[in-house]
Protein backbone atom coordinates (compact mmCIF):
# COMPACT_ATOMS: atom_id res chain seq x y z
CA UNK A 1 0.00 0.00 0.00
CA UNK A 2 1.18 3.51 -0.62
CA UNK A 3 1.27 5.94 2.25
CA UNK A 4 -1.99 7.60 1.18
CA UNK A 5 -3.85 4.32 0.89
CA UNK A 6 -2.47 3.23 4.20
CA UNK A 7 -3.57 6.44 5.81
CA UNK A 8 -7.06 6.07 4.41
CA UNK A 9 -7.23 2.49 5.58
CA UNK A 10 -6.04 3.34 9.07
CA UNK A 11 -8.44 6.28 9.33
CA UNK A 12 -11.23 3.92 8.50
CA UNK A 13 -10.13 1.20 10.91
CA UNK A 14 -9.03 3.23 13.89
CA UNK A 15 -11.27 6.25 14.11
CA UNK A 16 -10.20 7.12 17.62
CA UNK A 17 -6.49 7.34 16.76
CA UNK A 18 -4.71 10.46 15.62
CA UNK A 19 -3.37 9.74 12.14
CA UNK A 20 -1.15 12.06 10.15
CA UNK A 21 1.04 11.72 7.13
CA UNK A 22 4.58 12.69 8.09
CA UNK A 23 7.40 13.51 5.70
CA UNK A 24 8.27 9.87 5.29
CA UNK A 25 5.77 7.55 6.88
CA UNK A 26 2.18 7.42 8.04
CA UNK A 27 2.08 8.14 11.70
CA UNK A 28 -0.57 6.96 14.12
CA UNK A 29 -0.87 7.97 17.74
CA UNK A 30 -3.00 5.72 19.90
CA UNK A 31 -4.06 5.95 23.50
CA UNK A 32 -1.98 3.80 25.76
CA UNK A 33 -5.01 1.71 26.72
CA UNK A 34 -5.61 0.75 23.07
CA UNK A 35 -2.03 -0.05 22.26
CA UNK A 36 -2.03 -3.81 22.60
CA UNK A 37 -5.28 -4.26 20.74
CA UNK A 38 -4.21 -1.92 17.94
CA UNK A 39 -0.85 -3.60 17.56
CA UNK A 40 -2.48 -7.02 17.36
CA UNK A 41 -4.84 -5.80 14.69
CA UNK A 42 -2.07 -4.17 12.72
CA UNK A 43 -0.09 -7.38 12.69
CA UNK A 44 -2.95 -9.78 12.04
CA UNK A 45 -5.06 -7.90 9.51
CA UNK A 46 -4.37 -9.08 5.98
CA UNK A 47 -4.44 -5.55 4.55
CA UNK A 48 -1.71 -4.29 6.82
CA UNK A 49 0.15 -7.36 8.16
CA UNK A 50 2.86 -5.44 9.95
CA UNK A 51 4.90 -8.45 11.00
CA UNK A 52 8.33 -6.86 11.34
CA UNK A 53 9.06 -4.42 14.14
CA UNK A 54 12.01 -2.42 12.85
CA UNK A 55 12.70 -0.23 15.80
CA UNK A 56 11.24 0.60 19.16
CA UNK A 57 12.37 3.82 20.73
CA UNK A 58 11.40 5.89 23.70
CA UNK A 59 11.43 9.67 23.65
CA UNK A 60 11.18 11.90 26.68
CA UNK A 61 9.16 15.04 25.93
CA UNK A 62 8.61 17.82 28.43
CA UNK A 63 4.96 16.93 29.04
CA UNK A 64 4.78 13.28 28.22
CA UNK A 65 6.74 10.13 27.56
CA UNK A 66 6.44 8.63 24.11
CA UNK A 67 7.23 5.19 22.76
CA UNK A 68 7.65 4.94 19.00
CA UNK A 69 7.23 1.75 16.99
CA UNK A 70 8.52 1.60 13.44
CA UNK A 71 6.67 -1.20 11.70
CA UNK A 72 7.14 -2.82 8.34
CA UNK A 73 5.23 -5.45 6.48
CA UNK A 74 7.56 -7.99 4.93
CA UNK A 75 5.04 -9.15 2.36
CA UNK A 76 3.45 -5.79 1.49
CA UNK A 77 6.51 -3.62 1.99
CA UNK A 78 4.89 -0.63 3.61
CA UNK A 79 6.15 1.14 6.68
CA UNK A 80 4.30 3.04 9.37
CA UNK A 81 5.04 4.66 12.66
CA UNK A 82 2.93 3.81 15.67
CA UNK A 83 3.16 6.03 18.70
CA UNK A 84 1.84 5.82 22.17
CA UNK A 85 2.03 8.52 24.78
CA UNK A 86 1.69 8.53 28.48
CA UNK A 87 1.37 11.71 30.47
CA UNK A 88 2.66 10.22 33.69
CA UNK A 89 6.31 11.14 33.35
CA UNK A 90 7.42 9.95 36.76
CA UNK A 91 6.17 6.38 36.48
CA UNK A 92 5.20 5.82 32.88
CA UNK A 93 3.62 2.47 32.13
CA UNK A 94 2.27 1.08 28.90
CA UNK A 95 1.38 -2.39 27.69
CA UNK A 96 4.02 -4.63 26.26
CA UNK A 97 3.98 -5.75 22.64
CA UNK A 98 6.57 -8.45 23.21
CA UNK A 99 3.95 -11.16 22.75
CA UNK A 100 3.22 -9.76 19.27
CA UNK A 101 6.76 -9.09 18.08
CA UNK A 102 9.33 -11.09 20.03
CA UNK A 103 12.10 -8.62 19.33
CA UNK A 104 10.15 -6.01 21.31
CA UNK A 105 11.03 -7.96 24.44
CA UNK A 106 14.59 -6.74 24.27
CA UNK A 107 13.90 -3.33 22.81
CA UNK A 108 11.45 -2.73 25.63
CA UNK A 109 14.06 -3.75 28.15
CA UNK A 110 16.34 -1.15 26.62
CA UNK A 111 13.67 1.54 26.83
CA UNK A 112 12.95 0.55 30.40
CA UNK A 113 16.63 0.67 31.21
CA UNK A 114 17.34 4.06 29.70
CA UNK A 115 14.04 5.89 30.10
CA UNK A 116 12.26 4.10 32.88
CA UNK A 117 9.13 3.27 30.93
CA UNK A 118 7.44 0.35 32.61
CA UNK A 119 5.92 -2.23 30.29
CA UNK A 120 2.96 -4.08 31.74
CA UNK A 121 2.83 -7.87 31.31
CA UNK A 122 6.43 -8.02 30.15
CA UNK A 123 7.76 -11.43 31.16
CA UNK A 124 11.32 -10.41 31.89
CA UNK A 125 11.54 -6.69 32.55
CA UNK A 126 15.04 -6.22 33.89
CA UNK A 127 17.67 -3.63 33.20
CA UNK A 128 19.67 -4.38 30.09
CA UNK A 129 22.81 -2.26 30.11
CA UNK A 130 23.05 -0.58 33.48
CA UNK A 131 23.14 -1.63 37.09
CA UNK A 132 20.11 -1.62 39.28
CA UNK A 133 19.54 1.74 40.88
CA UNK A 134 21.36 3.74 38.27
CA UNK A 135 18.64 6.16 37.24
CA UNK A 136 17.30 6.67 33.76
CA UNK A 137 19.97 8.45 31.75
CA UNK A 138 18.03 9.30 28.62
CA UNK A 139 15.47 11.33 30.54
CA UNK A 140 16.00 15.02 30.09
CA UNK A 141 16.07 15.67 33.82
CA UNK A 142 18.80 13.12 34.46
CA UNK A 143 21.75 14.58 36.27
CA UNK A 144 25.11 12.98 36.74
CA UNK A 145 27.69 15.42 37.92
CA UNK A 146 30.59 13.02 37.68
CA UNK A 147 30.16 11.46 34.27
CA UNK A 148 28.50 14.21 32.28
CA UNK A 149 30.76 17.13 31.49
CA UNK A 150 28.88 20.13 30.16
CA UNK A 151 30.68 22.37 27.75
Amino acid sequence: MTNDELKAYLLDKFPSAEITLGTQYVQMIVASADLHQTATLLKDAKETSFDYLICLSGVDYPEYMEVVYHLESVSLRHVMVLKVRTSDRANPAIDTVSDIWITAKYHEREVYDLLGVHFNNHTDLRRLFLEDGWGFPLRKDYVDEIRIVER
Partner: protein, 377 residues
Protein backbone atom coordinates in the same frame (compact mmCIF):
# COMPACT_ATOMS: atom_id res chain seq x y z
CA UNK B 1 24.87 -15.20 43.46
CA UNK B 2 21.95 -13.11 42.33
CA UNK B 3 22.66 -14.33 38.84
CA UNK B 4 22.10 -17.92 39.85
CA UNK B 5 18.93 -17.02 41.67
CA UNK B 6 17.75 -15.24 38.59
CA UNK B 7 18.20 -18.32 36.44
CA UNK B 8 16.52 -20.41 39.09
CA UNK B 9 13.44 -18.28 39.15
CA UNK B 10 13.21 -17.19 35.55
CA UNK B 11 13.65 -20.47 33.83
CA UNK B 12 13.10 -23.89 35.27
CA UNK B 13 15.19 -24.88 38.22
CA UNK B 14 18.48 -26.51 37.47
CA UNK B 15 18.17 -30.26 37.27
CA UNK B 16 20.87 -32.46 38.76
CA UNK B 17 22.76 -32.89 35.50
CA UNK B 18 22.55 -29.29 34.49
CA UNK B 19 25.04 -26.59 35.22
CA UNK B 20 25.68 -22.98 34.39
CA UNK B 21 28.70 -21.62 32.60
CA UNK B 22 29.52 -18.00 32.05
CA UNK B 23 30.81 -17.55 28.55
CA UNK B 24 32.38 -14.14 28.66
CA UNK B 25 32.80 -11.25 29.29
CA UNK B 26 36.33 -12.43 28.62
CA UNK B 27 36.05 -15.25 26.17
CA UNK B 28 37.88 -15.77 22.89
CA UNK B 29 34.81 -16.40 20.80
CA UNK B 30 32.48 -13.66 21.97
CA UNK B 31 34.63 -11.16 20.04
CA UNK B 32 34.30 -8.48 22.62
CA UNK B 33 32.79 -8.12 26.02
CA UNK B 34 29.59 -10.05 25.70
CA UNK B 35 28.58 -12.35 28.50
CA UNK B 36 26.32 -15.29 28.00
CA UNK B 37 24.96 -17.29 30.85
CA UNK B 38 24.72 -20.74 29.32
CA UNK B 39 22.80 -23.56 30.88
CA UNK B 40 24.35 -26.85 29.90
CA UNK B 41 23.70 -30.50 30.27
CA UNK B 42 27.01 -32.15 29.50
CA UNK B 43 27.91 -30.54 26.21
CA UNK B 44 24.34 -29.75 25.26
CA UNK B 45 23.17 -26.15 25.40
CA UNK B 46 19.82 -25.82 27.11
CA UNK B 47 19.40 -22.10 27.48
CA UNK B 48 21.37 -18.96 26.78
CA UNK B 49 20.90 -15.61 28.41
CA UNK B 50 22.98 -12.87 26.83
CA UNK B 51 24.06 -10.12 29.19
CA UNK B 52 25.19 -6.95 27.52
CA UNK B 53 26.18 -3.48 28.53
CA UNK B 54 29.82 -4.01 29.40
CA UNK B 55 30.87 -1.40 26.89
CA UNK B 56 27.74 0.68 26.83
CA UNK B 57 29.09 4.11 25.95
CA UNK B 58 25.94 6.20 25.98
CA UNK B 59 26.32 7.40 22.42
CA UNK B 60 22.63 8.30 22.21
CA UNK B 61 22.96 10.56 25.22
CA UNK B 62 26.14 12.12 23.89
CA UNK B 63 24.44 12.87 20.59
CA UNK B 64 21.93 15.09 22.36
CA UNK B 65 24.71 17.50 23.22
CA UNK B 66 26.56 17.76 19.91
CA UNK B 67 25.76 18.97 16.43
CA UNK B 68 24.85 16.83 13.44
CA UNK B 69 28.26 16.70 11.73
CA UNK B 70 29.74 15.72 15.04
CA UNK B 71 27.30 12.85 15.50
CA UNK B 72 28.72 11.16 12.43
CA UNK B 73 32.09 10.49 13.95
CA UNK B 74 30.45 8.80 16.92
CA UNK B 75 28.66 6.33 14.65
CA UNK B 76 32.09 5.14 13.51
CA UNK B 77 32.58 3.71 16.93
CA UNK B 78 29.41 1.66 17.07
CA UNK B 79 29.72 -0.89 14.36
CA UNK B 80 33.31 -0.17 13.56
CA UNK B 81 33.35 -2.69 10.73
CA UNK B 82 30.63 -0.92 8.79
CA UNK B 83 31.70 2.54 9.91
CA UNK B 84 31.10 4.03 6.52
CA UNK B 85 27.51 2.80 6.28
CA UNK B 86 26.72 4.15 9.73
CA UNK B 87 28.18 7.50 8.73
CA UNK B 88 26.10 7.48 5.62
CA UNK B 89 22.90 6.76 7.51
CA UNK B 90 23.25 9.91 9.60
CA UNK B 91 24.34 11.97 6.62
CA UNK B 92 21.37 10.76 4.55
CA UNK B 93 18.99 11.39 7.41
CA UNK B 94 20.15 15.00 7.74
CA UNK B 95 20.10 15.53 3.98
CA UNK B 96 16.58 14.16 3.70
CA UNK B 97 15.41 16.35 6.55
CA UNK B 98 16.87 19.44 4.91
CA UNK B 99 15.74 18.34 1.43
CA UNK B 100 19.30 18.63 0.15
CA UNK B 101 20.08 16.87 -3.08
CA UNK B 102 23.67 15.67 -3.13
CA UNK B 103 25.65 15.57 -6.38
CA UNK B 104 25.76 12.36 -8.39
CA UNK B 105 29.47 12.04 -7.72
CA UNK B 106 28.85 11.84 -3.99
CA UNK B 107 26.29 9.09 -4.47
CA UNK B 108 28.73 7.05 -6.51
CA UNK B 109 31.56 7.53 -4.07
CA UNK B 110 29.36 6.62 -1.13
CA UNK B 111 28.08 3.49 -2.77
CA UNK B 112 31.55 2.29 -3.72
CA UNK B 113 32.78 2.97 -0.22
CA UNK B 114 29.77 1.15 1.20
CA UNK B 115 30.55 -1.94 -0.77
CA UNK B 116 34.24 -1.79 0.06
CA UNK B 117 33.35 -1.55 3.72
CA UNK B 118 30.95 -4.47 3.33
CA UNK B 119 33.67 -6.50 1.68
CA UNK B 120 36.14 -5.66 4.42
CA UNK B 121 33.60 -6.58 7.04
CA UNK B 122 32.74 -9.87 5.38
CA UNK B 123 36.43 -10.68 4.99
CA UNK B 124 36.98 -10.16 8.67
CA UNK B 125 33.91 -12.21 9.41
CA UNK B 126 35.21 -15.01 7.21
CA UNK B 127 38.56 -15.20 8.92
CA UNK B 128 37.00 -15.03 12.36
CA UNK B 129 34.51 -17.70 11.42
CA UNK B 130 37.36 -19.96 10.43
CA UNK B 131 39.15 -19.19 13.64
CA UNK B 132 36.09 -19.94 15.74
CA UNK B 133 35.84 -23.30 14.07
CA UNK B 134 39.51 -23.95 14.80
CA UNK B 135 41.07 -23.24 11.41
CA UNK B 136 43.49 -20.56 12.51
CA UNK B 137 45.13 -20.04 9.16
CA UNK B 138 42.01 -18.51 7.61
CA UNK B 139 42.42 -15.59 9.96
CA UNK B 140 45.65 -14.52 8.35
CA UNK B 141 44.50 -15.03 4.78
CA UNK B 142 41.42 -12.94 5.40
CA UNK B 143 43.32 -10.16 7.08
CA UNK B 144 45.92 -10.16 4.34
CA UNK B 145 43.26 -9.39 1.74
CA UNK B 146 41.41 -6.96 3.98
CA UNK B 147 44.59 -4.93 4.23
CA UNK B 148 44.17 -3.84 0.63
CA UNK B 149 40.74 -2.36 1.33
CA UNK B 150 42.00 -0.64 4.43
CA UNK B 151 44.79 0.87 2.37
CA UNK B 152 42.20 2.21 -0.07
CA UNK B 153 40.31 3.71 2.86
CA UNK B 154 43.44 5.18 4.34
CA UNK B 155 44.48 6.79 1.12
CA UNK B 156 41.14 8.42 0.44
CA UNK B 157 39.57 8.91 3.87
CA UNK B 158 42.66 9.25 6.03
CA UNK B 159 41.75 6.49 8.43
CA UNK B 160 41.54 2.75 8.17
CA UNK B 161 38.66 1.83 10.40
CA UNK B 162 36.91 4.84 11.88
CA UNK B 163 36.82 6.61 8.56
CA UNK B 164 34.42 9.50 9.35
CA UNK B 165 34.26 10.13 5.62
CA UNK B 166 30.71 11.43 5.33
CA UNK B 167 29.42 14.88 6.07
CA UNK B 168 25.89 16.12 5.71
CA UNK B 169 25.82 17.17 2.06
CA UNK B 170 28.68 15.11 0.76
CA UNK B 171 31.94 13.55 1.68
CA UNK B 172 34.94 14.89 3.52
CA UNK B 173 37.47 14.78 0.65
CA UNK B 174 37.35 14.03 -3.01
CA UNK B 175 38.57 10.58 -3.92
CA UNK B 176 42.31 10.21 -4.18
CA UNK B 177 43.74 10.14 -7.73
CA UNK B 178 44.93 6.57 -7.11
CA UNK B 179 41.54 5.45 -5.88
CA UNK B 180 40.14 3.96 -9.06
CA UNK B 181 43.33 2.13 -9.93
CA UNK B 182 43.66 0.69 -6.47
CA UNK B 183 40.07 -0.47 -6.39
CA UNK B 184 40.40 -2.14 -9.76
CA UNK B 185 43.62 -3.83 -8.69
CA UNK B 186 41.87 -5.05 -5.61
CA UNK B 187 38.96 -6.47 -7.58
CA UNK B 188 41.20 -8.49 -9.87
CA UNK B 189 43.27 -9.63 -6.90
CA UNK B 190 40.32 -10.60 -4.78
CA UNK B 191 38.52 -12.40 -7.60
CA UNK B 192 41.53 -14.71 -7.64
CA UNK B 193 41.56 -15.18 -3.89
CA UNK B 194 37.88 -15.98 -3.39
CA UNK B 195 38.13 -19.49 -4.88
CA UNK B 196 40.93 -20.10 -2.43
CA UNK B 197 38.58 -19.21 0.41
CA UNK B 198 36.18 -21.81 -0.90
CA UNK B 199 38.87 -24.45 -1.18
CA UNK B 200 40.12 -23.81 2.28
CA UNK B 201 36.84 -23.69 4.15
CA UNK B 202 33.65 -23.95 2.12
CA UNK B 203 34.41 -27.27 0.52
CA UNK B 204 36.12 -28.79 3.51
CA UNK B 205 34.30 -31.86 4.78
CA UNK B 206 34.90 -30.98 8.43
CA UNK B 207 33.54 -27.49 7.89
CA UNK B 208 30.42 -28.75 6.17
CA UNK B 209 29.82 -31.30 8.90
CA UNK B 210 30.16 -28.58 11.48
CA UNK B 211 27.73 -26.20 9.79
CA UNK B 212 25.10 -28.14 7.88
CA UNK B 213 21.77 -28.26 9.68
CA UNK B 214 23.09 -26.39 12.71
CA UNK B 215 21.38 -23.38 14.22
CA UNK B 216 18.06 -23.47 12.43
CA UNK B 217 16.29 -20.12 12.39
CA UNK B 218 12.92 -20.33 10.66
CA UNK B 219 11.61 -17.52 8.48
CA UNK B 220 8.86 -16.69 10.97
CA UNK B 221 11.36 -16.47 13.80
CA UNK B 222 13.75 -14.38 11.74
CA UNK B 223 11.00 -11.83 11.15
CA UNK B 224 9.72 -11.96 14.69
CA UNK B 225 13.18 -11.45 16.15
CA UNK B 226 14.01 -8.86 13.53
CA UNK B 227 17.09 -10.73 12.35
CA UNK B 228 18.23 -8.71 9.38
CA UNK B 229 21.18 -8.66 7.07
CA UNK B 230 22.83 -11.79 5.73
CA UNK B 231 21.75 -13.72 8.82
CA UNK B 232 18.11 -12.98 8.10
CA UNK B 233 18.43 -13.47 4.36
CA UNK B 234 19.76 -16.98 4.98
CA UNK B 235 16.36 -17.74 6.50
CA UNK B 236 14.62 -16.41 3.42
CA UNK B 237 13.75 -13.07 4.99
CA UNK B 238 14.04 -10.66 2.09
CA UNK B 239 15.27 -7.54 3.83
CA UNK B 240 17.97 -6.06 1.66
CA UNK B 241 17.36 -2.33 1.96
CA UNK B 242 19.62 -1.73 -0.99
CA UNK B 243 16.84 -3.35 -3.03
CA UNK B 244 13.72 -2.40 -1.14
CA UNK B 245 14.47 1.18 -0.20
CA UNK B 246 17.40 2.06 -2.42
CA UNK B 247 19.53 5.01 -1.46
CA UNK B 248 22.64 6.65 -2.94
CA UNK B 249 23.60 4.97 -6.21
CA UNK B 250 21.97 1.62 -5.53
CA UNK B 251 19.03 2.30 -7.89
CA UNK B 252 21.54 2.59 -10.72
CA UNK B 253 23.28 -0.76 -10.34
CA UNK B 254 22.22 -4.27 -11.09
CA UNK B 255 22.72 -6.80 -8.36
CA UNK B 256 20.94 -9.72 -6.79
CA UNK B 257 19.61 -9.96 -3.31
CA UNK B 258 21.11 -13.20 -2.04
CA UNK B 259 18.43 -15.32 -0.43
CA UNK B 260 18.76 -18.77 1.00
CA UNK B 261 16.04 -20.93 2.46
CA UNK B 262 18.08 -23.50 4.31
CA UNK B 263 18.10 -21.40 7.48
CA UNK B 264 21.21 -23.03 8.95
CA UNK B 265 24.76 -21.98 9.70
CA UNK B 266 25.98 -23.06 6.30
CA UNK B 267 23.29 -20.95 4.63
CA UNK B 268 24.36 -17.88 6.58
CA UNK B 269 27.94 -18.60 5.61
CA UNK B 270 27.14 -19.00 1.93
CA UNK B 271 24.96 -15.90 1.80
CA UNK B 272 27.90 -13.84 2.97
CA UNK B 273 30.29 -15.53 0.57
CA UNK B 274 27.93 -14.80 -2.33
CA UNK B 275 27.46 -11.24 -1.13
CA UNK B 276 31.17 -10.71 -1.52
CA UNK B 277 30.82 -11.59 -5.21
CA UNK B 278 27.83 -9.24 -5.52
CA UNK B 279 29.73 -6.42 -3.85
CA UNK B 280 32.60 -6.88 -6.27
CA UNK B 281 30.23 -6.65 -9.21
CA UNK B 282 28.52 -3.53 -7.78
CA UNK B 283 31.88 -1.81 -7.43
CA UNK B 284 32.83 -2.89 -10.92
CA UNK B 285 29.71 -1.30 -12.37
CA UNK B 286 30.36 2.00 -10.64
CA UNK B 287 34.09 2.45 -10.50
CA UNK B 288 34.60 3.52 -14.11
CA UNK B 289 31.54 5.75 -14.28
CA UNK B 290 32.06 8.11 -11.37
CA UNK B 291 30.68 11.38 -12.78
CA UNK B 292 32.58 14.63 -12.53
CA UNK B 293 31.34 17.22 -10.11
CA UNK B 294 31.59 18.44 -6.58
CA UNK B 295 32.26 16.08 -3.76
CA UNK B 296 30.00 17.99 -1.40
CA UNK B 297 27.32 20.65 -1.51
CA UNK B 298 27.92 23.77 0.49
CA UNK B 299 26.02 23.52 3.72
CA UNK B 300 25.46 26.20 6.33
CA UNK B 301 28.16 26.29 8.93
CA UNK B 302 25.59 25.53 11.61
CA UNK B 303 23.18 22.84 10.49
CA UNK B 304 19.75 23.05 12.05
CA UNK B 305 17.14 20.47 11.24
CA UNK B 306 13.49 21.53 10.96
CA UNK B 307 11.27 20.48 13.80
CA UNK B 308 10.07 16.93 13.34
CA UNK B 309 11.11 13.31 13.24
CA UNK B 310 13.30 11.67 10.69
CA UNK B 311 14.12 8.05 10.14
CA UNK B 312 16.74 6.67 7.80
CA UNK B 313 17.45 3.03 7.16
CA UNK B 314 20.57 1.70 5.50
CA UNK B 315 21.91 -1.76 4.93
CA UNK B 316 25.16 -2.33 6.78
CA UNK B 317 27.26 -5.47 6.64
CA UNK B 318 25.29 -6.85 9.58
CA UNK B 319 21.78 -5.86 8.65
CA UNK B 320 19.44 -2.98 8.94
CA UNK B 321 20.83 0.10 10.61
CA UNK B 322 18.36 2.82 11.46
CA UNK B 323 18.78 6.39 12.61
CA UNK B 324 15.82 8.00 14.32
CA UNK B 325 16.33 11.71 14.88
CA UNK B 326 13.83 13.84 16.78
CA UNK B 327 14.60 17.48 16.18
CA UNK B 328 13.27 20.53 17.95
CA UNK B 329 14.78 22.96 15.50
CA UNK B 330 17.99 23.57 17.39
CA UNK B 331 21.48 22.70 16.22
CA UNK B 332 21.55 19.69 18.52
CA UNK B 333 19.10 16.86 18.08
CA UNK B 334 16.42 16.42 20.74
CA UNK B 335 16.74 12.66 20.71
CA UNK B 336 18.73 10.26 18.59
CA UNK B 337 18.08 6.56 18.52
CA UNK B 338 20.17 4.08 16.60
CA UNK B 339 18.56 0.85 15.59
CA UNK B 340 21.56 -1.40 15.45
CA UNK B 341 21.40 -4.69 13.60
CA UNK B 342 23.47 -6.59 16.12
CA UNK B 343 21.07 -5.85 18.95
CA UNK B 344 18.17 -7.66 17.33
CA UNK B 345 20.34 -10.41 15.88
CA UNK B 346 21.92 -11.29 19.20
CA UNK B 347 18.70 -12.18 20.91
CA UNK B 348 17.79 -14.78 18.32
CA UNK B 349 20.80 -16.74 19.53
CA UNK B 350 18.89 -18.61 22.21
CA UNK B 351 16.33 -19.74 19.69
CA UNK B 352 19.01 -20.98 17.31
CA UNK B 353 21.49 -22.64 19.61
CA UNK B 354 19.16 -24.49 21.95
CA UNK B 355 19.77 -28.21 21.86
CA UNK B 356 23.08 -27.98 20.03
CA UNK B 357 26.57 -28.49 21.42
CA UNK B 358 28.86 -25.82 22.85
CA UNK B 359 30.99 -25.95 19.72
CA UNK B 360 27.88 -25.24 17.64
CA UNK B 361 27.02 -22.29 19.83
CA UNK B 362 30.37 -20.79 18.90
CA UNK B 363 29.76 -21.46 15.22
CA UNK B 364 26.26 -19.98 15.32
CA UNK B 365 27.44 -16.88 17.13
CA UNK B 366 30.11 -16.54 14.52
CA UNK B 367 27.61 -16.57 11.67
CA UNK B 368 25.53 -13.90 13.38
CA UNK B 369 28.62 -11.72 12.97
CA UNK B 370 28.16 -9.75 16.15
CA UNK B 371 30.03 -6.56 16.88
CA UNK B 372 29.61 -5.78 20.55
CA UNK B 373 29.87 -1.96 20.49
CA UNK B 374 27.10 -2.09 17.92
CA UNK B 375 24.91 -3.93 20.40
CA UNK B 376 25.77 -1.85 23.41
CA UNK B 377 26.05 1.56 21.75
Amino acid sequence: MSEIKEIMFNSDRLATDEYLVNMGPQHPSTHGVLRMLVKLEGEKVLNIQPHIGYIHSGIEKMCEAISYPQIIHLTDRMDYLSAHMNNEAVALCVENALQVEVPERVKYIRTIMDELARLASHQLWWCVMGMDLGALTTFFYGLRDREMILDIFEETCGARLTVNYNLPGGVMFDIHPNFQKRVKDFITYFRKKLPEYDQLLTGNVIFRERTEGIGHLSLADAIAYGVTGPSGRASGFSNDLRKHQPYSAYPLVKFNEILDHRCDTLARYEVRMKEMHESLSIIEQLIDNIPEGDYAVKMKSVIKLPEGEFYQRVETARGEFGVYIVSDGKKNPYRVKFRSPGFSNLFALNNMAKGHKIADLVAIMSTLDLVIPDIDR
